[in-house]
């Protein structure tokens, strides 16, 4: 009898163990298949949306949540001065995934570049770094990297209520039809869920020349040749 009881107990234990394994396998399968829980390899860094994983789409909606004004009493201008290495064609190309000549076809409204596009509550966050516009650009001539057709980019600054946010090289009054030489970085999306490349700098095109900040006016052909000779970032 004692042998029988022992065998029965062993069989019960085995059945319990098998059931546990089945439950664990089902839970694991559900976890792995969930899109929000893709496994992360040790040492792997989280990557923002990029041109390679999510193409810069011409169909991106340029407007977002209606931005509320900063919670400060008076109307202010917020102006940023950046101290940087000289903006040469070669140097700018080295931090860009794409360099091209393009014409603005649509300018979106100014949006907060904050989580949930919420109005910042802290004074130091009321900054041109947290304000952006999306622009739709028709690519005319690719100098380096990947660019094609009509693309959507984000640029810093804009106007929210009676507050203006400005930084050198990014005009507040962008107009449809304006032509620029663009340096873009597809690895820097403006917001979670918004697929658009960052514009590092945009230099005005006047006729057949690009107005550069360091090298004077250069022909579009020279601009393209110098950018092509430099090395771009991988998207």
């Amino acid at each position: 009898m004692s042998v029988l009881r022992s065998v029965t107990a062993m069989l019960r234990g085995l059945a319990f163990g098998l059931a546990l394994l089945v439950i664990l396998a089902v839970v694991a399968a559900l976890y792995v298949s969930s899109p929000s829980h893709s496994p992360i390899q040790p040492g792997a860094a989280a990557t923002p949306p990029s041109a390679s994983s999510a193409p810069v789409s011409a169909t991106v909606e340029l407007s977002g949540a209606e931005p509320a004004e900063p919670p400060v009493g008076e109307c202010l201008r917020h102006v940023k001065v950046v101290d940087a290495a000289p903006s040469t064609i070669e140097g700018m190309t080295s931090i860009s995934t794409g360099v091209f000549i393009g014409r603005i076809s649509e300018v979106g409204p100014t949006r907060w570049r904050t989580t949930g596009e919420k109005t910042p509550s802290e004074q130091q966050e009321i900054s041109v770094d947290n304000v952006m516009r999306l622009v739709r650009v028709a690519v005319e001539e690719v100098a380096a990297g990947a660019a094609d057709g009509t693309m959507v980019f984000w640029i810093p600054g804009g106007t929210i209520g009676c507050h203006t946010f400005e930084t050198a090289g990014f005009p507040l009054d962008l107009k449809t039809g304006d032509e620029f030489g663009f340096f873009i970085d597809a690895n820097q999306a403006p917001l979670k869920g918004v697929t658009a490349a960052r514009v590092h700098e945009m230099w005005p095109v006047q006729g057949d020349t690009v107005v550069t900040p360091e090298q004077g006016d250069v022909s579009i052909a020279e601009f393209a040749a110098e950018a092509e000779a430099a090395e771009v970032l991988s998207p």
Partner: protein, 231 residues
């Protein structure tokens, strides 16, 4: 590598020669610049000399040194290659030492009353060293300034390394003198704009670091012009 080193050496020799030639033909002028309200394509223009007006400055000016501007130094400043917080305090001292009625820069530990906020953040690329953002009203008086130091720069206290390429190896990481950049940014925060290469001043952009730790006579003259001399 030898090609790169040779090229850099040639560039440095060329730049030095050009600067020497420039210094020979263009004697240094006391041409401190003030910030003016932005307009046109570039957000910041410069108003040279003493006649341009109005320029951007703090509304707070002191007939004595009792009027303070509170400076908040964020903890991110202490996590860099060098302690940027210490360097910020040193830079503030340089401007407080000028015999002018400029606001006295005073450290605060509260973010509820700060008027200048200083932090270290990523600029998203290694080409920018530092930045200063002003908030000002209709009468061009600064009510808030935000100084940022780029965490993608390797900070040191004695030299600059040409920042021309994306960092791909240790010897190509952009390096910069934190004293020079921090003092330069506080110069912006006081109301000074960039100075011409021919002038000896902390507000000259991109000059050899070691000679530009100090706030120079040209910078001091600019501050005195903006705020008035201390009696």
């Amino acid at each position: 590598m030898s090609n790169l080193a040779g090229r850099l050496l040639r560039i440095r020799v060329g730049v030095a020669a050009a600067l020497l030639a420039l210094a020979a033909v263009a004697p240094a002028a006391s041409a401190y610049n003030q910030l003016i309200p932005p307009g046109g394509f570039n957000a910041i223009d410069e108003c040279e000399g003493t006649t341009a007006s109005p320029c951007i400055r703090w509304a707070k000016t002191a007939s004595n040194l009792s009027i303070n501007v509170d400076v908040y130094l964020h903890s991110s400043l202490t996590s860099q290659e060098v302690n940027l917080k210490t360097i910020a305090l040193d830079s503030m001292g340089k401007y407080n030492a000028i015999a002018a009625r400029n606001p006295h820069l005073q450290q605060t530990t509260s973010t509820s009353n700060e008027e200048i906020y200083v932090s270290a953040v990523s600029f998203g690329n290694p080409r920018g060293y530092g930045s200063t953002e002003f908030s000002f009203g209709a009468v061009n008086r600064i009510v808030y300034a935000n100084i940022k130091m780029n965490t993608q720069i390797e900070w040191n206290t004695s030299y600059d390394y040409p920042c021309r390429a994306i960092p791909v190896a240790p010897h190509e990481i952009c390096q910069a003198d934190a004293h020079k950049v921090m003092s330069h940014e506080f110069g912006h925060a006081e109301g000074l704009a960039h100075e011409a290469l021919s002038v000896t001043a902390i507000m000259v952009q991109g000059e050899p670091a070691s000679e530009y730790h100090a706030v120079k006579t040209d910078d001091k003259n600019g501050i005195i012009h903006i705020y008035g001399a201390y009696p």
